[in-house]
Symmetry: C2
Subunit: 214 residues, 2 copies
Amino acid sequence: MSEDSADIRTRILREATRLFAAQGYDGTSLQQVAESVGIRRPSVLYHFPNKEALREAVLAHMLAYWKDAIPGILTAATRGGDRLDLALKAMVGFFVDDPDRARLLTREMLDRPDAMRALFSEHLQPWTGLLTGAIRMGQGAGSVRAELDPEAWTLQIITAAIGAVAVGPVSAHLLADPPDPRRQLDELVRTATVSLFNPRPPKEVRDGKLLPGQ
Amino acid sequence: MSEDSADIRTRILREATRLFAAQGYDGTSLQQVAESVGIRRPSVLYHFPNKEALREAVLAHMLAYWKDAIPGILTAATRGGDRLDLALKAMVGFFVDDPDRARLLTREMLDRPDAMRALFSEHLQPWTGLLTGAIRMGQGAGSVRAELDPEAWTLQIITAAIGAVAVGPVSAHLLADPPDPRRQLDELVRTATVSLFNPRPPKEVRDGKLLPGQ
DNA sequence: CCTACCGATCGGTAGG
DNA sequence: CCTACCGATCGGTAGG
């Protein structure tokens, strides 16, 4: 019975996540959540004291999934320059695997900016700090462009990735020949790579056939 | 009295835009709109037959503003390579001038993807076509990177710009030292520029001191 | 996890 | 542009 209860709770969370992502919190009724699970509305309120608590649980559940995935992504990113591709694709992949994550996150940032600010500060800042730190090291070593703003660049790539997954399939129709998601994500990786690293000097310069400064 | 009526209608539109952007369509009641304008709820329904019609009018009003601004932006963009900075800043500026535009647009793409797809196809595709066409010409002339995907690149810059304005002030707190909007937009322009254009060859190569292909 | 019930609020209409 | 009124739906509770 305890397992039954936990199972139902999980199913409520899953359906609520899906519905909140697609229709928003205010656009989703507890009745709809209950129907999707196949129970009656008051039964939802047995597992979650009220609708707001369900919202928080949905968010916490996604955040838990995040905190599980982020370390692997960022350690890949901070290790070597060549692995940026993999790290970027892993981060994008986290949202691509389940676009509801990107949509829910975007909606929550729009609906409750203050709460999300607090949540980000509390749980996610340490990890992004690793990334900007690695970028600064790369700037010191000369591999990363000196004129790049580490914080602004990081934020932009994250924003672009989330935006591409959350609203990409819609905004793609701004173009007569809408690029499919694959093309969008490949281009994101290319843009991020090119804008992050200094270009390798031409072989002749690397070989010292030209004097530096001349 | 006709002017009065038009004035009230405009004020309803303005308040509805503000409230829809901040709280979403489902999260905003006609009562709230009426109160913001300083009239009773049924009076709102004198100017707009129902809530859905108000939504459409808000969207159409924003789109009209758009279609007014986009030509200037894109002709600046398509003219010369050096003007990309100005064009990008103009496009971003359109959303920066009134962040509600970016928020409303993002919400509508999440809430009604099909309707927004249709709206984009109908009204905005000709303009973006100008932009991708100019990019392809730049690729032919060698100023734009050959490996760039014109459609995917354009979409990504637009997505990044809208995302930066719509949720930037929140997502900035993913970082311990949140970059202000100015830094985010400057970095967007830098990233876009670097990822679009081929690097100028070093002066020595341009001067022919090294043979091409060697 | 259910049935039965609650007050509050919703969008919308009648009628002036 | 208003007052008065409508049915429908909302989140939530009682009680089992």
